[in-house]
């Protein structure tokens, strides 16, 4: 039945989506191979140190010394629509790390976010961290705050929370839009150490300008792997680098061929 359908062309690729799909499959294969090499201990990739991640630990330490809380904002992102999904997932794995540290140091942690669905997830992530640190009684569910789903109402709420609670460290990691600078400048007004990160290209400049450390685009997504040091996670980061080499090669070869008037590469990747 399947062969019939395939042979007589009931199903076909949508125009222009054959190559993207192939690329996805290639990534899967590269990842599988890397994982195999890691499992057999033949090759173990290492991840470059990210200064911003070390800064997170330092900032939590400073907050502890000053006896002031830590603020963590997951941002505007949700888990349903488009390209904020990966940033939210990445932010949640960093949150796990931050919550664990805060639990160990007995530093209050305030978590803010916009998408209501995160109420469940973020609360559980933080609760789990306190359980692991052996201090479940210190966990305060009311400190995981859904501000509201409206973008600027959310921003005003977070700005108010920052001014009232005066956190010594503020982490803004995830998907951010225009409120990036509103929240970051509010943090500056009270002199918090800020580590920010987003993959939203037109908000990165504001984080670079207003925060002490910035995780730029990809760094946000690999931070989770860097923290966990889990071989599977590091394996995907390595396959990401393999894909990067492929794309740089496609770009340079394509441009050189293009200089001679050959459009081979462009035609290939258009498929």
């Amino acid at each position: 039945m399947i062969t019939e359908v395939l042979l007589y062309g009931e199903i076909s690729f949508k125009e222009g989506y054959a190559f993207p799909f192939t690329l996805f499959i290639i990534t899967l294969i590269v990842f599988g191979l890397t994982l195999m090499l890691i499992k057999r201990n033949i090759f173990i990739p290492r991840i470059r140190r990210l200064p911003a991640i070390d800064a997170i630990d330092e900032a939590i330490g400073r907050a502890t010394e000053m006896g002031r809380p830590v603020h963590y904002c997951i941002g505007l992102g949700d888990l349903v629509s488009g390209y904020d999904v990966p940033q939210t997932i990445a932010s949640l794995s960093i949150l796990r790390h931050v919550a664990r540290r805060c639990a160990e140091y007995d530093t209050p942690l305030i978590v803010t976010f916009r998408w209501p669905g995160l109420q469940l997830i973020a609360t559980e992530v933080v609760r789990q961290a306190y359980l692991e640190a052996g201090k479940p009684e210190k966990f305060k569910p009311e400190n995981v705050i859904w501000v509201t789903s409206r973008q600027f109402a959310f921003a005003s709420g977070v700005m108010g929370i920052i001014q009232r609670e005066k956190p010594a460290a503020s982490f803004l990691l995830g998907y951010f839009a225009a409120e990036s600078l509103l929240i970051a400048e509010s943090g500056n007004l009270i002199g918090a150490i800020q580590v920010a990160g987003t993959a939203n290209s037109y908000q990165i400049p504001f984080f670079v300008a207003a925060c002490d450390y910035t995780l730029i685009s990809e760094e946000l997504m690999t931070a989770g792997a860097y923290i966990s040091k889990d071989p599977h996670q590091i394996g995907t980061v390595f396959s990401q680098d393999v894909l990067r080499i492929i794309s740089i090669a496609i770009l340079l070869i394509g441009a050189i061929l293009m200089s001679f008037g050959l459009k081979t590469v462009v035609d290939l990747i258009r498929m």
Binding site: Y83, A177, A178, Y202
Partner: protein
């Protein structure tokens, strides 16, 4: 004296805030009238419409505006609609977010002088209202224009003369979207599958993200208030955007002056530290 120069790098931000209020307010109450030149992004959208939009061409005007982005996008939306109406295009208004519908009504009133009661309604222009469902909804609309069934006033779409011969996104000459969030989705779901170019009516903040698509997929785009002012000048009808440009000039200059002062203070103090 030197202490004062060094302190230039740590002026209380509230002084800056107060000056900003003053500098923006004055030209709004008493305009100066500085000249404005036309940028290439604006010109390319204007040229595309001049060249490709014939009487009867179908153009979608998508209002993805919210009250906060409308300051920038509404003058653009009105100016482009005015241009399209002059060219005799069939204009389909649609809103990608619920709060965008009110701006379609304002635009219809300003350009055509009326809404659904206007004699040309349903012939020259139609208001489909809010299209829910984010990118999923956009995909359905692109596949089948009649997925909405009726316009916002309950008229059956299949019976309106304006929809004659329109099936899917491939039948549009241009898909203009006034937005402050992203054009990526429109390029992804309209241009890539159907080949219909996108015209961007963008807030200035979005501009840097539209450049990668320009001019291949987004044929032209207007950047913020200035884009609107330029388009108003291109079609020869200066409006609210032109008036606000003076305040823009002064606001920018204030920031530049403060950046320069901050650097003088920084430069001076770091030189003294070296000595």
């Amino acid at each position: 004296m030197s202490e004062a120069i060094i302190r230039l790098q740590e002026v209380d931000p509230r002084i800056l805030y107060l000056l900003m209020f003053i500098v923006i307010s004055i030209p709004l109450l008493r305009p100066i009238g500085l000249p404005i030149s036309i940028s290439q992004e604006t010109k390319s959208l204007y040229d595309f419409i001049e060249k490709n939009v014939k009487p009867g061409s179908v153009v979608v005007m998508d209002s993805d505006m919210s009250p906060s982005t409308a300051v920038e996008c509404l003058p653009q939306f009105i100016a482009v609609t005015r241009h399209l109406a002059e060219k005799g295009a069939r204009i389909i208004f649609i809103a990608s977010r619920a709060v965008g519908v009110q701006f379609i009504e304002i635009t219809m009133k300003e350009v055509f002088g009326g809404g659904p009661e206007h004699p040309d309604y349903g012939k020259k222009f139609v208001n489909l209202g809010y299209r829910p469902g984010g990118s999923v909804g956009l995909r359905s609309f692109a596949e089948d224009v009649y997925y909405m069934k009726t316009d916002v006033y309950g008229n059956d779409l299949t019976k309106l003369p304006i929809m004659e011969g329109v099936k899917n996104a491939a039948d549009f000459t241009l898909y203009c979207v006034a937005t402050g969030s992203a054009v990526d989705g429109y390029v992804m779901l309209i241009t890539d599958p159907y080949g219909t170019p996108v015209g961007g009516l963008c807030t200035a903040v979005l501009a840097s993200r539209v450049y990668p698509y320009w001019p291949e997929k987004v044929v032209g785009f207007l950047i913020g208030l200035r884009g609107g002012a330029e388009y108003e000048l291109l079609i020869g009808k200066p409006g609210r955007a032109v008036a606000a440009m003076d305040a823009q000039s002064l606001g920018h200059m204030l920031i530049i002056v403060f950046v320069v002062l901050g650097n003088i203070g920084y430069f001076y103090s770091s030189r003294r530290r070296k000595q």
